[in-house]
Amino acid sequence: MRHLLSTQDLSVDEATELLDEAERFEQALTGREVRKLPTLRGRTVMTVFYENSTRTRVSFEVAGKWMSADVINVSASSSSVGKGESLRDTVKTLHAAGADALIVRHPASGAAHQIASWTDDGGAGPAVINAGDGTHEHPTQALLDALTLRQRLGSLDGRRIGIVGDVLHSRVARSNAHLLATLGAEVVLIAPQTLLPVGVSEWPVTVSHSLDAELPTIDAVMLLRVQAERMNGGFFPSAREYSVRYGLNDRRLALLDDNAVILHPGPMLRGMEIGYSVADSPRATVLEQVRNGVHVRMAVLFRLLVGTDSPGTL
């Protein structure tokens, strides 16, 4: 594995190994006096975020620092980005400045793929980690969601996972749908047709338009954020109607199996896609997801940055 650009590139073995290793990192850090591993000493990891995201950036930064990497946050607003420099020139500069890994968030779908190709440098370029590209993918979010689900449910094999809401514009939904299916789960996308991409029929998922019908059958429900700009984009008549049809309120919570898990990639809009008290339910996994996020990102950095001096190592 040279980059992490999409969960669609991960085999079941690769995905399982990343989750296993995330748990090993959790163990390695448990009960310790010094929460720092020397593993990535002398390695330079740069986060390059063209969109704001406190939680993802902090999670990667903590993961890198706990492994002794030098983590540099390139702020897209304060760097030469503001001067109109092209993305290609910016990332080539960061490569030349010594980045061993580039962790990239960008509003354009495919930006991470393009950066990997622009900085490839005959295979000597940095590892590129997609931390969210447009409406395409957000692989580490899916990995941490899968880890959280695996911990709560024991295994993902044969489990039925509902992903609710704006699948069309959600990179989290894309990454999760493919990863969870790879790991053996049955994924059902639950949304009005307007929020599902044309062509979704070729994904390894089933599709439903009724949350009430699906809730009793699923082991976990993942609620996607409804972005404000969609509410005015004609994708559904009103926030009220969306909340009534697709919000996970107290009544719907009762439809779920007692052991079912509720995930939300955050930030949440309480009262919209998730009921105010539902978000605080013990079935919700918000803080576990955050903790797992650091361990998953350690596993990814480890996987991509270790052994990279050997040419031809995958």
């Binding site: 779908s109 495919g110 190709s117 622009w118 044309v198 029929s201 070729e202 994904w203």
Partner: protein
Amino acid sequence: MSTPTTGSVLIADVRPYGDGDPVDVLVVDGRIAEIGTDLTAPDGADHIDGGGAVLLPGFVDLHTHLREPGREDTETIRSGSMAAALGGYTAVFAMANTDPVADNSTITDNVWRTGRDIGLVDVHPVGAVTVGLAGKQLAEMGMMNAGVAGVRMFSDDGKCVDDPLLMRRALEYAKSLDVLIAQHAEEPRLTVGAIAHEGPNAARLGLTGWPRAAEESIVIRDALLARDAGTRVHICHASTEGTVELLRWARGQGIAISAEVTPHHLLLDDSRLATYDPVNKVNPPLRETRDKEALRRALADGVIDCVATDHAPHAAQEKACEFAQARPGMLGLQTALPIVVDTMVNPGLLDWRGVARVMSERPAQIVGLPDQGRPIEVGEPGTLTLVDPNRSWIVRGDDLASLSRNTPYEEMTMPATVTATVLRGVITARDGEVTR
């Protein structure tokens, strides 16, 4: 610069339309004087040894972006003319979306004169349908038609004339001028932010989709408007299976509608987008296998009239960027013929007479060019293209004549080669070099 418009050349050992035994074709003063064997050239005539090449009427491209005036860093009328001659073209129609827009006779006459002075290919400016391509007010089509360029084709290409009332007026007005309106069929409300064909690949790649219906709804609307106006409408770069069906229906109704297809829509599909390389970004977008197949069949059976390149040069920085930000368009002039050979001739969908039809005769007829796309007969113009159907070559953007490099066919092997181009008896390109 001298501007000879006629010439004499002996084209030896060629097979007109790929049929029969090789013959010699003698062009004198721009017209075919004799077809036979063992012909001798008069003094001062050029000589081409065809080596058994297929001889076709010179190609006519209804859809070329030459970028002059305004973006001479990406293409000029000269560099575009060179690419055209090397690709076997003897006439190209230069689209109006220049800067300033070709919406008045000052621009169109200037483009025409510049092309004539270069003399490699007949450069026919396309006039804008609306002022500034803004879709609000009709451009002065009559003035452009009456100018030295004699503009006979109008298009807002790059943008759709989406206002149905304005399109109706444009068609009616065009009828009174006996000129052609060519529509870039794209309902803009259905393609807000769209950068890729709406389908499984775009869904997977997270690219905002450009639905087939955005093209098809305009195609059928304009067919109905053309029917009621009693005039012809030409559909630029047809790209979907549905458009083919609508064209077939409209033809069945006796509606005067014609259509072109680009080489890239015949050859490529949206599976190419997986790398996010913006060289594959084009408008209308690359579509699916079934569209590609429907377009090939339609070109074979005449529902789609002709091939047009939509040659669209772009600067490196307009492609070396995020897919969403990249300009749509690809080079096409030098690769059109071999792609037609690859997608139509080699699979048996077209013979060489068919190639002559879709590359030369039909486009000339659609736009009413009297001296292009003519039969290879004595007395007809010596405006001809030689094709070696078996000489393959590898595409390298750096080697193409265009000032830009945005070819999606980089490193691809093309199965056939244009070996010479002759415009009214003057050799404009031979063995990969322009001659003027």
